[in-house]
Symmetry: C2
Subunit: 172 residues, 2 copies
């Protein structure tokens, strides 16, 4: 029963992990965000086997996260860049960074600084509401069954739990 | 050269993935955030093999992300809950959810709704700056070498690339 895909789970976390959840994939995306474009650069930076990098990039190309074009100076070389879908993953990387900076940086020394141009400070991301702009904290958000939910592997019991946990809340 | 750990990489993304990056782990955390506490509930919800769930929970316990205590009604049963470190991962799950809701929800039907109590709307998270509170977008953040950076596998070339960067513009 070891599953090799989350693609059929009715869950947006699962579906995102289906695209970016493989070992190495988020670090490859990190490198693309940092401006690495060449296979050999990414491989040297990460120190991973070329067959693994090939497989991960192939999947990211298939999923529409990455696109490639030939190098203008050397036609034998591919350059990999993020598509709109790919660039839209930056909140995931910012969230992973913030947690690692807070909980896994020895001596509090951050490996990388993220500077926010609006305030000029080295900072990290926190989640705010896309609608009202105020902070989203665990104590001011709640979860409700959505129209795309299903009772199936991956989410077999979630519907029940959501109905039990929020008896007073309107379900939409 | 297939690596089985990112723990020694000087990168907060890698260090976070070392804790939550294994297949299934983020979905187990999702279930804990949704209020599942019992091994058998999580197993039934996800439909995963018990040896895999055992291994993932063991690692989360060792890493201080999850704690367990015996059920008050049935002493043979463990209840698993998130620690402070674990709860602090909610921005990662919100970011994964937002991307999946936007890019992988067939018909735009979200599997789960996140309601923000402050504004009462069903919403998703976007990253804001922890210091000034304004939005963090790809075009208003820049990356700089931090004091905890190292030139080693995982981040072998990042230092060079960051030094070449002009703030706000990924320069090749």
């Amino acid at each position: 029963m070891e599953r090799s895909s989350f693609a059929d789970f009715s869950c947006s976390i699962s579906r995102t992990l289906e695209v970016v959840g493989e070992w190495w994939t988020l670090l490859i995306l990190r490198d693309l965000f940092l401006g690495f474009e060449r296979f050999d650069e990414i491989q040297r930076n990460l120190g991973l086997a070329s067959n693994v990098l090939t497989a991960r990039l192939k999947r990211l190309l298939e999923q529409g996260i990455v696109e490639r074009h030939t190098d203008l100076q050397d036609k034998r070389v591919w350059r990999y860049t993020l598509t709109e879908q790919g660039r839209d993953l930056y909140p995931v990387l910012l969230a992973l960074t913030a947690w690692g900076d807070k909980w896994r940086a020895p001596g509090g020394l951050k490996p990388l600084h993220i500077r926010h141009a609006s305030c000029q400070h080295v900072s990290n991301a926190v989640p705010h509401c896309a609608i009202c702009g105020e902070k989203m904290r665990l104590d001011n958000i709640s979860f409700e069954a959505g129209p795309g939910g299903r009772e199936a592997p991956g989410t077999a019991l979630i519907g029940q739990v959501l109905r039990q946990h929020k008896p007073g809340k309107p379900e939409k």
